[in-house]
């Protein structure tokens, strides 16, 4: 049993990606340093990195990211939990689905940011309307993924459970939840990405704190390198969360031969 190593090596795919990014950053750096016009709109990566280090030292970065993550997390929780519950119910019950589906389709199509002014009139100018908008953005992707996760469970699994006399709670925990978990997790990812986008967008139009506000302020004062620094942090947040979810997916859905996440 020696020699033949049939198992594909973990992470074998990561190096080419790093290489591509490194080469692109190198080219960008060289270009920005040699061309004056480029450095105005496209400051060198080293300049952007210096801004990040400075803001990290001063504590500004932590405050900014904290404000954004606060809105993001509250919105995700506020929108995600009802989305899960309603999604499971709609997946399971054709009657509830028929009753609610048209409403969901209609509401899903509305750009959530467009509702912000109305919510600000209703909920005031504080954090509440912003979190409500993030919640709405997170709600729909998770709802739809959860529902389709339940609907894709093969009917035979419910029949087997009933055949062995499983109680309703057992069917819920042993069939419904694990059976829809792969799609729920990809729904969480979609919800996070939608919530991150909307958080940045509403911070641009209606907040004084957070990454979106920082981006907008940097643009208005033509501190382009600060704008890029905020964009880089946003991108890091996205990559980081998706990596965490991929890891969680491998842990939570170990039976999947090819994880969907």
């Amino acid at each position: 049993m020696s020699g033949g190593n049939a198992r594909p090596r973990r992470g074998a795919g990561a190096w080419p990606a790093f290489l591509v990014i490194a080469v692109l950053l190198g080219l960008w750096e060289t270009w920005a340093r040699t061309s004056d016009s480029a450095s105005i709109l496209f400051p060198a990566p080293s300049v952007i990195a210096a801004v990040l280090v400075r803001e990290l030292r001063s504590g500004a970065l932590v405050r900014t990211v904290g404000a954004t993550l606060g809105r993001l997390a509250s919105g995700l929780a506020l929108g995600g939990v009802p989305a899960l519950l309603l999604g499971l119910t709609m997946g399971f019950s054709p009657r509830v689905r028929a009753a609610v589906d048209p409403l969901v389709a209609a509401a899903h199509a509305i750009p959530k940011i467009a509702v912000l002014p109305i919510l600000m009139i209703l909920l005031g100018l504080g954090e509440a309307p912003k979190i409500a908008v993030v919640a709405a953005a997170a709600f729909f992707p998770l709802l739809i993924s959860t529902m389709s996760g339940v609907r894709h469970i093969s009917p035979i699994h419910f029949e087997v459970a009933h055949g062995y006399g499983a109680s309703a709670p057992r069917v819920f925990w042993r069939v419904l939840v694990p059976g829809s978990l792969p799609q729920i997790l990809s729904g969480v990812r979609l919800a996070f990405n939608a919530a991150l986008l909307i958080t940045i967008a509403l911070e641009i139009v209606a907040a004084r704190t957070g990454l979106g506000a920082t981006i907008w302020l940097a643009w208005q004062t033509m501190r382009v390198e600060e704008l890029y620094a905020s964009l880089a942090v946003t991108s890091f947040l996205g990559v980081g969360f998706n990596a965490i979810l991929a890891f969680a997916g491998r842990r939570l859905v170990p039976w999947h031969s090819t994880p969907e996440i």
Partner: protein
């Protein structure tokens, strides 16, 4: 007696009317008896098993279980045509599931499931996921899940239908061995006439849809059965007898499916 079906009929409501799957089916199965059922595809065999298992309600008639002492054994366990293993449970958890629903504690059910898994030589796969098993192994796990609950009646729906000839042969042997050691009666649905004869004490032959009992054949072979019986003259004669019962229905359904397109070709073209 293990249970009895009395004048069992089942229709399904469809968009445009009804499909009658079963019509007036009456038979009984004795304690620890092995009854095979053969019939053309779509004649209601799966429907019959689901009715017996209580997963469907009969449109008419009834399933009467024996007046059994309440010793905690489940009345029946059904092994589906497509094994129906839960992909999110390991082999061990799948086999233990029938005990889990009956409230058997975790360590006891895992112990009982493990004993079964070892007895069929699947111990190295106890913690594997179903997708990591071959089709034959999955089928054995599905059968095992039913056996460990020690049911009064084991309902098997073409459990070996998707297997190659060699594997099927070996698993028939294993199935007989498991059944001999158990206390269960078996209703075994198959489309393989030889399998029905070699395994069963009796063979029920159903008609095409709606399924009715067309005939019943007692298999004059002793127990314990050896699979050498497959080449026994008595078996060959019985196979022929059953085939004669099924032939007309089979031909009719074949003719139906081949003639229709021909007649449309014969339409005169203006």
């Amino acid at each position: 007696m293990s249970f009895r079906c009395e004048h069992l009929s089942k229709s399904f409501a469809m968009r445009d009317g009804f499909v009658q799957a079963l019509d007036d089916v009456t038979f009984s199965v004795g304690e620890r008896e092995f009854v095979s059922i053969v019939g053309p595809s779509g004649c209601g065999k799966t429907t019959l098993l689901k009715l017996i298992a209580g997963l469907l309600r009969p449109s008419a008639g009834s399933v009467v279980p024996s007046a059994a002492p309440d010793d905690g054994r489940p009345a029946s366990a059904l092994v589906f045509q497509e094994h129906g293993l839960f992909p999110w449970m390991t082999v061990l958890e799948n086999v233990a599931f029938g005990l889990e629903t009956r409230g058997v504690g975790r360590s006891e059910r895992h112990e009982r499931a493990m004993t079964f898994i070892s007895s069929v030589g699947l111990a190295p796969f106890a913690h594997a996921w179903p997708h990591q098993l071959s089709v034959g192994m999955r089928q054995r796990v599905g059968i095992g899940r039913a056996f460990v609950t020690d049911p009064r009646l084991l309902l098997l729906d073409e459990p070996l239908g998707s297997l190659d000839a060699q594997t099927r042969f070996l698993l028939q042997e294993e199935l007989l061995r498991l059944w001999t050691r158990s206390r269960s009666a078996v209703v075994y649905v198959t489309h393989d006439i030889e399998e029905a004869v070699v395994l069963g004490d009796r063979v029920l032959v159903l008609t095409g849809r709606p399924g009715r009992i067309q005939g019943e054949i007692t298999v004059p072979l002793g127990r314990p059965r050896k699979l050498e019986y497959a080449v026994d003259e008595k078996v060959t004669a019985l196979k022929w007898q059953i085939w004669k019962m099924l032939e007309e229905e089979a031909r009719r359904s074949l003719a139906l499916s081949t003639r229709e397109p021909v007649s449309s070709v014969e339409e005169p073209v203006p």
